[in-house]
């Protein structure tokens, strides 16, 4: 079985939070504002709460089988064959997630920063870094994510505070967006945006058990919900909802608007730094999870040999969509709206099945 090492609560929270907030840098904000206009900032809070509820249900499943990772639970409850298939679905889902995130990142960077560079150079460098991260292992990724989270939060605070002269509270009115029902509906629908937190269930042994799992999951969901909500809020405050639904990347546009005097303007290139850091952590974790789930399913002791083939798969997924429009309308839409079907529904079904079949894990002596 794979040895993954252990890391503490703070690092786990940092890891999950970074994975969840990276989407604030991309196009998701725009889609949400288009759907709900001025109430986008609490539509996302609704999504967060729904995700918390679903997470608590998954926690119940994990509590039934203390100290067993989700792959093993699948096999215990549904039998070897179907359990393996379910785990492999998750592995494929993480590869798809990594590939789509990478593609979105490449599109963004080509739009804003490096328009004429061939995308394969960008992807190659990125994948090299990601494979190196996955090679070092989960402990290294967790430690690095702690440092990255500090950097990203400092940068994010700067981007949100510096355009202060442009903020106008009146832009938030009318308060309820297109209508309360649309807000609620969008919120519910996009609960999948926070569903990536499920990866914690696969590395329970590294985060010291089920109690920590609950604590880490809830803290990081709350934290990331707050941060994304504040980001959307600032985006609406600075640009009214009409323009906010046009910007390709809300945060980047905010950073482009910073202007204090002749010398302190157009400083958005500094923010490339934090955005690349967050994206690398995001893709590195998804990539590592896919390789690790695969190895756990087939009881391979070392995940390192499988990194290169997975890198190749991710590369293929990255290059599949034909244009930015396809990325936004197919890949990202699937990830933000429908992924709950995979990430939450499957564990829930397994929970129901375990209740029906009466399978339980052994109680551990504390």
């Amino acid at each position: 079985m794979m040895k993954e090492g252990k890391f503490g609560t703070m690092e786990a929270v940092a890891l999950t939070t970074i994975v969840l907030i990276t989407k604030a840098f991309y196009t998701s904000i725009r889609v949400l504002v288009k759907a709900t206009s001025t109430s986008a900032w609490f539509a996302t809070l609704i999504s967060c709460s729904v995700s918390i509820l679903l997470f608590l249900l998954v926690y119940l499943l994990m509590k039934r089988f203390p100290n067993k990772e989700l792959v093993e639970i699948f096999e215990i409850v549904t039998g070897k064959f179907i359990g393996k298939i379910l785990a492999l679905i998750f592995s494929a889902y993480f590869v798809y997630y990594a590939g789509s995130s990478l593609r979105e990142f490449v599109e963004m960077i080509k739009a804003y920063v490096l328009p004429y560079t061939p995308p394969s150079a960008i992807i190659f460098v990125f994948l090299a870094v990601v494979v190196f991260f996955a090679y070092v292992g989960l402990e290294g990724i967790a430690r690095m994510s702690y440092i990255s989270l500090i950097i990203v939060i400092i940068g994010l605070t700067l981007i949100l505070i510096l355009p202060l002269p442009f903020y106008n509270v009146d832009n938030l009115f009318p308060l309820a967006g297109y209508s309360l029902q649309t807000t609620l509906f969008s919120g519910l629908l996009r609960a999948s945006a926070y569903s990536d937190v499920i990866f914690l269930a696969f590395i329970i042994n590294a985060i010291h058990g089920v109690k920590q799992f609950k604590k880490v999951g809830l803290t990081s969901l709350a934290l990331s919900g707050a941060i994304i909500s504040v980001t959307i809020l600032c985006s609406i405050l600075a640009f009214e909802y009409t323009q906010a639904s046009e910007n390709l990347s809300a945060l980047f546009q905010l950073s482009r608007n910073i202007y204090f005097n002749r010398f302190f303007q157009r400083v958005e290139s500094i923010f490339i730094f934090i955005w690349v850091v967050a994206s690398i952590m995001n893709v590195a974790l998804a990539f590592y999870m896919s390789a690790s789930i695969f190895c756990k399913t087939f009881k391979i002791p070392n995940h390192r040999p499988s990194l290169l083939p997975f890198a190749f798969c991710t590369f293929t997924v990255t290059l599949l969509p034909q244009s930015l429009s396809e990325v936004v309308e197919r890949n990202v839409l699937f990830l933000r709206q429908y992924s709950a079907v995979i990430t939450y529904l499957i564990p829930l079904l397994v929970l129901l099945l375990s209740l029906i079949r009466g399978k339980k894990g052994e109680k551990i002596k504390i």
Binding site: G8, A121, M144, F263, F273
Partner: protein, 594 residues
């Protein structure tokens, strides 16, 4: 066909994954685990030693009568070889002569004499390594005094000499010929009388050495001005002067086959985690090398990762710094002939501290550290940021500066990346040259050379003027790094940043930064993760970047798992809790009665 197959196999072997052998990694366990292990070990050792003593007592010879003794002596004339010491004086002299290649080797000296006309004896030493005063006055004189040997019997006199006659202060019995050779090499004197099967060594070290001088590399303004020198005994003494703790232990280990280098390992027993001491000893003991040139080579032989850019052991030439690290719970390694001591295990933060911070008042401790960090930032990233900004992100530069740079670059034929690499390489060249030019000229030439070269290059339109400033600030930042190895590592890293910055702008810079960060985070220095306490989040240290006042530093660093982490109680300045002896109350109008 076969050749093709071999070629194919070789090709495939490059892309197949070779699993590393499953080596167990060293880690520092918590203190309670160790104490349990230690207790078990102690009980086991006691049993063994008692057992051994019984055995050795059993092998001691019983006193024999004279007649029997003569027979025995004639019967068992042991050969002097590498394992045993002969009881015949001539054989021993020949053995030592053979070992030292005398009479060709003029360094070794034999002084044969008769004690009280009855016993043949000799002393042997290496000329120049010994203090002749001690040999003349305290070894030869009492031995040649017949008075003391009036009523002695036949046989081995060494025991009697040691107890009643010899006036030296340190005496050891040597039963092993290899040890005997080593003692001579260390500068001690061997004494032998006929009939014994062991030597006596006297401590007579007197080789010439430098005195205790001011520190060369790590100067401070307000602090002690003593530095280590090449003599091991002096160095250990300098540390012991500062740490007056009976538990401060020094262990000696020898390294090397052709030249046995003496290493000393110092630690505070009962404070340092025994696992660290054990690991250090284990690594040094299991070295099988020819010759180690000093502590630089020793560091390379026992460090965790040879190919790492960043050093994982701290080198310092100041005894007060060594002492403060010892009290933290670290281990110091000192090596004969090298005026540096190595401290293990260290974290990245130890490498950027300097002694000045502890001696300065609080506001400056943190402020200077921040400036040093700024220096490190400039040294690593400034040229890369310059290249990335001017090639990819011109919008960040204010327009006036941009036009000025463009105007200056108008007549320069090279692209920016070539300019930067050219200037960096010539700067490195100037630095290397500056080290080797003798005397005062060296330092001045370095600076002036750089300035004049830079100015001339700008005049000749080879580089643009902004670049000179960038390279100069980078050089200054590099000098601000307190640790020489770290500065060298940063110099290398800078080139990687420049190349990636020229390739992909800020995106490339960030990618290299992430790789470096991940690399640092996964390094371990003798079991302590390198970026603790930030990366694995352990107890908050009070001395990382911002330094708390001295009276607030209550805990030792957690990463080392020392035995007893508290250093001082919460209130260490007890004088603040009570009133001064001469005091008055200051309520009401302070100026009453004036």
């Amino acid at each position: 066909m076969k050749k093709k197959q071999n070629f194919l196999i070789m090709l495939f072997s490059y892309i197949t994954y070779k699993d590393k052998k499953n080596i167990k990694e060293f880690y520092i366990p918590e203190v309670d685990e160790i104490s349990k292990q230690q207790q078990d070990q102690k009980i086991k050792d006691e049993k063994d030693s008692v057992h051994k003593e019984k055995k050795s007592r059993a092998t001691l010879k019983k006193p024999v009568s004279v007649a029997e003794e003569n027979e025995e002596r004639k019967a068992e004339k042991k050969k002097a070889d590498d394992k045993t010491i002969s009881t015949d004086i001539a054989q021993n002299i020949d053995y030592i002569k053979a070992k030292f290649n005398a009479p060709a080797n003029k360094d070794i000296v034999f002084r044969e004499f008769m004690i009280a006309g009855k016993y043949k004896a000799f002393i042997t030493y290496l000329d120049g390594m010994v203090d002749k005063n001690i040999i003349n006055n305290f070894i030869l004189r009492p031995l040649l005094n017949d008075e003391k040997f009036k009523d002695t019997n036949e046989g081995c006199q060494l025991d009697y000499i040691v107890q009643r006659v010899l006036e030296t202060n340190q005496i050891r019995t040597i039963t092993n010929p290899t040890d005997a050779v080593y003692e001579i090499l260390s500068g001690n004197t061997l004494l032998y009388t006929d009939g014994c099967d062991y030597y006596i060594t006297n401590e007579t070290k007197g080789f010439p050495a430098r005195g205790v001088e001011k520190p060369v590399v790590e100067g401070v303004i307000q602090g002690a001005q003593e530095a280590f020198n090449e003599s091991l005994r002096t160095n250990v003494t300098l540390v012991r002067k500062i740490v007056k703790n009976p538990n401060l232990t020094t262990e000696f280990i020898k390294v090397g086959q052709k030249s046995q280098l003496q290493c000393a390992i110092m630690y505070i027993d009962g404070l340092t985690n025994p696992a660290i001491i054990d690991e250090v000893k284990r690594r040094i003991d299991n070295l099988d090398i020819d010759y180690s040139q000093g502590d630089g080579m020793l560091e390379q032989l026992i460090e965790d990762n040879t190919f790492s850019i960043i050093p994982t052991m701290l080198t310092t030439e100041r005894p007060d710094r060594t002492a403060s690290h010892l009290i933290e719970g670290r281990v110091a390694i000192l090596v004969e002939g090298s005026p540096f001591s190595k401290i293990v295990p260290v974290t990245l933060y130890t490498l950027i501290h300097s002694t000045e911070d502890a001696n300065m008042r609080w506001p400056f401790g943190t402020f200077l550290r921040l400036i040093r960090l700024l220096g490190i930032f400039f040294a690593t990233l400034l040229p890369a940021i310059y290249v990335a900004m001017t090639n990819f992100h011109q919008e960040m530069i204010p327009t006036d500066l941009l036009i000025a740079i463009a105007k200056a670059k108008e007549n320069v034929p090279f692209p920016t990346i070539v300019e930067v690499l050219l200037m960096e390489v010539s700067f490195e060249l100037i630095r290397e040259a500056g080290i080797r030019i003798p005397g005062v000229i060296g330092n001045t030439l370095g600076i002036i050379g750089a300035l004049i070269l830079g100015q001339a290059a700008v005049q000749a339109n080879i580089v643009s003027p902004v670049l000179i400033i960038v390279v100069a600030i980078t050089g200054l930042g590099n000098f601000a790094v307190p640790n020489v190895s770290l500065a060298l590592g940063i110099r290398l890293l800078r080139f990687a940043f420049i190349i990636m910055g020229a390739f992909l702008g800020f995106y490339g810079l960030t990618a290299v930064f992430m790789i470096t960060g991940m690399y640092l985070v996964s390094q371990k220095s003798f079991g302590v993760p390198f970026v603790a306490p930030v990366a694995p989040r352990t107890t908050r240290s009070s001395d990382l970047i911002s330094r708390k006042p001295v009276w607030k530093q209550e805990k030792r660093s957690d990463g080392l798992n020392p035995i007893g982490i508290g250093r001082q109680p919460k209130v260490s300045r007890k004088w603040t809790q009570e009133d001064p002896n001469y005091s008055y109350s200051r309520e009401g109008n302070d100026d009453e009665g004036r």
